[in-house]
Amino acid sequence: MTAVSPALAATREAFGPTLIRLAKEGLPIVVVDADLGASTTARKFRDEYPDRFFSVGIAEQNMIGISCGLAAAGKVAFCSTFGVFLPGRCFDQIRVSVAQTGLNVKMVASHGGISVGEDGISAQSIEDLAIICSLPGVWVIVPADVEEARQAIETAARTPGPFYIRTGRPKIPVIYDDTYRFQLGKAHLLRPGSDVTVIALGIMVHRALDAATALEQEGIDCRVLNMATLRPLDEEAIVAAARETGAIVTAEEHLIHSGMAAMVSQVVGSKCPVPMGAVGMRDQYAESGRWEELLEKYHLTAEEIVRQVKEVMARKQGARSDGRSG
């Protein structure tokens, strides 16, 4: 179930085809798009259901309002554009009309993170999770591969209320096969371990698995959790990881000061403090470049996870020996 297969796919590829499948099964799916349907893959839905696909043009704020109206009238309203515009361009509309109403609006933001690549920083979304997670009452999901993306989209469609799902542009390793069962609100234990836990998100999950394999060679038993549901956080899994492994490293394609690192720290700090490290973007924007080059340059790599794991383990051991001598 968790064997890493060599297949590659982008998480965004799940979007259009999954909606078509769900519409065929009878769900009242409608799609509102803001002129990026080819990139998000929403346009595939238009090809099958032209009368249930609405393009508002380049007008993201209007997209949210129209989705709300459709949702209130009983539709399962999906809307989508890039992660930099959704939620960035329409935050107030989401806040008042989606979060504060609890309407059945499913926001699917593609091109998350810096792996957007050459388009540069206006298109690289490293703040979207902070913005959307600031809102009460919105489920936030970042799938780790295309299979999880399919299941997350289906779960969102079948679960009433607001959702935000972040997908990605590049083709990345497929981690899960169809025997996997995505569970909303639950971190998925991809690899057991007792020395340290890496909590990863999205594109960083397969890198966390690579890091764990490398660490195994050095005798370090690394737990890997896929925190696919970022809001609300699976606090139970985090506290168990802190208690059972005594050290945590988070890994995300987002700013750490406002991303998963901050959110996990808040849980760990208040419930079970242990040494922590964070892999992610550090208080800066990236630049144009090929996506693999960018992940390398900005240290979103398995090597960086390994480095930080060793650092937190040293701190953990330091704390223990301090405890013994004191």
Binding site: A59, E118, L294
Partner: protein, 274 residues
């Protein structure tokens, strides 16, 4: 009066800019050819005849400002700036590469001559209004030229700024709309029509001029006319062809945001000519 010599020179410059756009995008392996090629004559007219500017002093406070609101078309701006002497032509080949100054969408304080960051559509005209309000406070008489896409006119903020500029009687402002009829996914009129754009802008208080955006003489005449307008801003609706100059790109939504292959580059360069 625009002389025939001027037009001949600009026509030759436009060809070089088109060639640069094609080669730099091919080398980059990505980017936006369609909306870059449609705006070539507009930038040519501005940079080589209309703008008061000095490539040696990109921060001269009295320079006219050109603001590219449709930031994805930055290849046409880089190519024009190179042609004008703001950066070496060879540097165009670094577009979109790691470590390059030539970012995939325009970014302020990277290449000299880039006035503002862009990439999230709908924001450039507001910035231009701000520049002019400051200029008025400081008693400076520079002018601001802002290029918008027609798809971009679907953004709400565009209409907020369309409303604001006439209110402030910003007669040193010229908004040029690259009316190529195509946006990202499809044709503008089948996505979310913006016409009658001329009547809408006129109703908002703009002086509106419609031109063929590939006819340099018409563009220069319109830009000259704008200089004489007082008490309100001017909008030039430039009817263009997306992908202009390359047959397989022309008016084809598929060429909004992808780079030509090496073979396609050869064909494109042959069509554009020397």
């Amino acid at each position: 009066m625009v002389t025939t010599d001027t037009i001949d020179e600009l026509t030759a410059t436009a060809k070089r800019i088109r060639r640069s756009i094609i080669t730099m995008l091919t080398e980059a392996g990505g980017g936006h050819p369609g909306g870059s090629l449609s705006a070539v004559e507009i930038l040519c007219a501005l940079y080589f005849d209309v703008l008061q500017h000095d490539p040696k002093r990109p921060d001269w406070p009295d320079r006219d400002r050109f603001i590219l609101s449709k930031g994805h078309a930055v290849p046409v701006l880089y190519a024009t700036l190179a042609e004008a002497g703001y950066l070496p032509v060879e540097e165009l080949m670094t577009l979109r590469k790691l470590g390059s100054r030539l970012q995939g969408h325009s970014k302020i304080n990277t290449v000299p001559g880039i006035e503002m960051s862009a990439g999230s559509l709908g924001q450039g005209l507001s910035y231009g209004i701000g520049q002019l309000l400051a200029g008025r406070l400081d008693g400076r008489d520079f002018r601001v030229y802002c290029l918008l896409g027609d798809g971009e006119c679907q953004e709400g903020q565009t209409w907020e700024s369309f409303m604001c500029a006439p209110f402030h009687q910003l007669d040193r402002l010229v908004a040029i709309i690259d009316r190529n009829g195509v946006q990202n996914d499809w044709f503008v009129n089948e996505t979310m029509e913006i016409d009658p754009l001329d009547a809408k802008l006129a109703a908002f208080g703009w002086h509106v001029i419609s031109v063929d955006g590939h006819d340099l003489r018409q563009l220069l005449d319109a830009l000259e006319e704008a200089k004489g307008v007082t008490g309100r801003p001017t909008a030039i609706i430039a009817k263009t062809v997306k992908g202009k100059g390359v047959s397989f790109m022309e008016n084809n939504p598929a060429w909004h945001g992808k780079a030509p292959s090496a073979e396609q580059m050869e064909q494109a360069l042959a069509e554009i000519g020397e």
